[in-house]
Subunit: 158 residues, 4 copies
DNA sequence: GATGAATGAGGATTCATTCAT
DNA sequence: AATGAATGAATCCTCATTCAT
């Protein structure tokens, strides 16, 4: 494809990113929704979500690299798209946690917005570490240990 | 300051970043060590560490912005410096968790490397969200809720 | 032509020089070879070579200027190209002198490497003087007096 | 010596070159004059001049490098100084040749300006070759073979 | 007289974008 | 619709020169 051809389909370089994220976000979040719906149990829903999250980022390492970079940049053209993705993720996590609270499997005294960051941050950092290690180990196998930490925390319950 | 002046103090543009992180890292980690030593209790040590972490990043928002961007970029000149910072943080967290395991306040079945990402990731994402919100609310007030999530997790213990 | 355009055709500024000399050298030395082959007589071959040499440098004064500057600089990017040009010139002169020695028109006690410098140096200096004079007189008319000096020297043979 | 100090003694960078050449030229040409006066014989005078020329440039390789570069550049700040040096050299060579013509040791049909270039060029090229070889061999030992070529030329006199 | 930190014009190079074909 | 040669603003960096101490 010639240099100039890209400008027939995208307004400029930033627009490539913006459109890519719009497209990818929709695609990935449909998968997330589908995955979450596979279980009735709130904890299992969260486990399925995190597993799928790690799996998708492991499958598309380039996307993972760009996402990690864009997500943590303060002045980005793709700002609104990234916000949308975050928002969608938050919505899914919120629903799961609310269900968990309703069915008694999750604490009722949770600050939802913080819980979302608590989960997203840990997953992101897990992906980030995997990327910096060169993507050499199996990312998906981190799912269960992570869920265990989310649910039980690190404190001893003796 | 004239264009050329910067080159009297730094080898090149990358070197500015590298030297800045070397300097800042040393300074911040001395504070972290000091903070951690203020308490005997492992959970309180972790709380002090996180509080100081949020406090320092809140105090120096520009540093926070650059750190977040560099930390999540895969090809960075400041790579070794960032790695060193991470390593120091890991060491501190490791010590705290090991102490917590010894005195019975933390679970003994923890995968240390994952615990570190679990904590660092959640704190980073908390900072990230604060930055994207424009730094409008008090970041340090997130300390206790975060520690609570780290220790107890989100699962109900009924 | 815009600033950036040159970089479509040359790797960098040095490369302009290198490629120019490669191209010009080939072209000029083909002419030299052709010129030399026009005569059977060694002295006439030398005369044709020098005439063509002066003629080509007179025709392309810019090339002459750059060549004179590069040729006498100790640290040059175009070093290998210049060396090649010199080498080719040396080869041609060597062949002529060896033929002259064989047919008895040239002395047999000559140190070839010095003879080359003796000829090249005198021709170069002649060109150099012409350049510094502003290229105002006819350079080619220097051919016969130069050849006379090369062949007979300045000593009286009474 | 500090950066700024040089500007107390020289107007600018070019002026360093200009003053250096003025100084060096005077010094070297005094030596040349002295050397030439050591013999009564024209050929021996030329031999002494060339020997001293090669000797001085061999002794001060840095000067040789700068001289070779400046001498063959068309736009030089030190232009007038270089011209003066050339002029002095020409004067010396002219005197020698004129004496040689008077005493019968040199041909009377010589174009003086060309003879000078013939000699200077060959000597310069000899120095140039020595510089590019890294100054590894003894330059002064080229004197006699060079003089032989100047006087007798390369033609066979059978 | 000496200093050397600061200067900023100049130069090589890149790269996102345009536009004639 | 596709091309890719040409563009030139922007960026990093150098280095000759100045000037307050």
């Amino acid at each position: 494809m010639a240099d100039g051809t890209i400008y027939l389909y995208f307004k400029n370089k930033d627009d490539i990113l913006v459109q890519f994220f719009s497209y990818k976000a929709k695609q990935v979040f449909d998968l997330f929704r589908e995955e979450v719906s596979k279980s009735e149990n709130a904890v299992e829903k969260l486990r399925n979500l995190v597993r799928r999250h790690l799996d998708e980022f492991q499958r598309d390492k380039n996307m993972a690299i760009v996402y990690q970079a864009e997500m943590h940049q303060n002045s980005r053209s793709a700002e609104p798209q990234i916000r949308d993705m975050s928002k969608m993720y938050l919505d899914i996590v919120s629903e799961i946690v609310e269900q968990g609270q309703a069915d008694g499997s999750m604490r009722k005294d949770l600050y939802l917005s913080l819980v979302k960051r608590f989960i997203v941050g840990a997953v992101d950092e897990t992906i980030n570490h995997w990327l910096h290690s060169g993507g050499k180990y199996d990312l998906v196998s981190m799912t269960d240990p992570l869920i265990d930490l989310f649910i039980r925390g690190i404190g001893s319950t003796k």
